[in-house]
Amino acid sequence: MTIIELTDVHKTYHLGETLVKALRGVSLGIDEGDLAAVWGASGSGKSTLLNIIGLVDEPSSGTLTLNGSEVGDMSDNAKTDLRSRYMGFIFQNFNLMPILTALENVMLPLQVQGISALEAQDKALNSLKSVGMEKFSQHRPDKLSGGQRQRVAIARGLVTEPKLLICDEPTANLDFENAERVMDLMCELNEKRGITFLFSTHDTRLIDRVKRIIYIEDGTIVKDERK
């Protein structure tokens, strides 16, 4: 079942007086259970594609449907609510709140949804457990290693049980060992819980682990390979 579908999506930026065509007519569907990597060089349009799929950026033209509903004309609040309910985000720089503990960081998306602190705490602890970080629940991000921070970020992304987890270069700031552990975790969650992952990377080490590779060059999908 297709969760998200893009049809002829273009994205153009103005960089000073220069017009940058980041995406040029991308059409793509993301299916439930996918473990897909968007692969391409720096500046190829990977992040722009993920941002548009994650509803944090808007296409210049083309359509985007989520569960069959066109999202182009939705209000900012409606898109925000869709992100909250259907998507999780994992960032290259982890983007954890420095003033919150690991547990509180994971509780945050639930509390944003209006779930009570007690219930959010239970769910957040389970989520931290699922990434092997329950022992570090009371640690602030600055007391964790890069790999541990990314695992907390994954727990935060998973805690709302999203349909799609969007990861922008999730292993870019990790050493090989931690990158492997994070990749193992994503594969395990995809296998066991059927969570859909879409991540951008230009790390060749990860390519063998995914079920689908979307190759992008100069804002165009040049190859969509399913294994």
Partner: protein, 407 residues
Amino acid sequence: MMWLKFALRNIYKNRRRSAATILAVALGFCSISLFHGYTQETYAGVATSIIHGGGVGHLTVFKQGFSERGRLEPEKYLFDEQEVKKIQALVKSISEVLLVTPRLNLSGLISNGKTSTIFLAEGVVPDDDARLRGEFMLKGGGLDSQTPSAVQVATDLATILELVPGGNAVIMGNTFSGMVNALDVDMRNTYNTGVDATNDKFIRMSLEHAQLFYDTQGADKLVVLLDNIQHIPAVKAQIQALAKKNGLDIEIKTWDELATFYHQLKSMFDMIFLFIFTIVIVVAVMSVINTMSMTVIERIREIGTLRAIGVRRSGIKWLFSVEGGALGLLGSALGVILTISVHFLMKSMAFTFIPPSSSAEVTLSVQLDIGFMLVLSLLLILLALLSAYFPAKRAAKSPIVDALGHV
């Protein structure tokens, strides 16, 4: 609660900057509330001083038209003996009234045999005067109903005439019928009028002696003392109603209507207060605006993350507004502590000073106005909240991808 926790932790995280802002708000709060307390203390002190010390009472009853023509033709606006008794009886029937006493103003020349100068005097009923003045009674005692010729002389006038207690002088002037009259007066003691301009002219004497000077049995006014200053409007209305019912054509002035100095003083202090209030509030608010603008800029990426995980624009505005409001709250709380501390410090130090146009020393003191401090706290919290709201609104509007990419 979640945003409050966020706000307080961020305030703690940036504790040096937050402390400077909280201190700016607290010092602003303290200076405004202390100055307000000082003005209120001054107003209350001046009011009490006028009502009791100045012997003006809460209300004064005149014959209709006295305020316009009374100085030119005092004899036409005089209550006769029967009218005085009638008004006294009517006004005394009001439960809030403590005292109704007749008065007679007079003027003329006073001489010690070698030197003569003009004088202004007020004839009072000695026992009533003692009751009206209460704690403001002069140290050497008041007038004595057993000695009608006794007078109290303003200190500068006593100096000019070289009068000492126990000495005597002669007062001269015209009676209401136009005859020249002169009376001996015995100096009981001196008193300070509190105002340089009058301290070399005033004397106080018994009503009996004043009536003898003008050859009358009347009085030009009746002073009314109430149990509480708050009852003035109600009692004034009652007296007017009673007078109308009994065919008395009178006018009633409240203490503050007779004390133009009070209004001038109040207007001046109100203007100074407004000036100081505006400057201090602007400084305090600018401090919060500066802090919150820096905070918002530093946390643009955090805003992007929060927006990405599902926080609405309104949530971002709320997050920073709560933080601004919390700075205002903490600043106000510290301001309350500082104000109370300074209040008690001033009380224990008992600083004194001589106000302009006054010849008496007064103690510097400030009132603790809890109601005002509450309103000021709410105002500062609201302003601090708004100081954070606008930068947060701008940040919340920025595209999420830009915010996430902010370094």
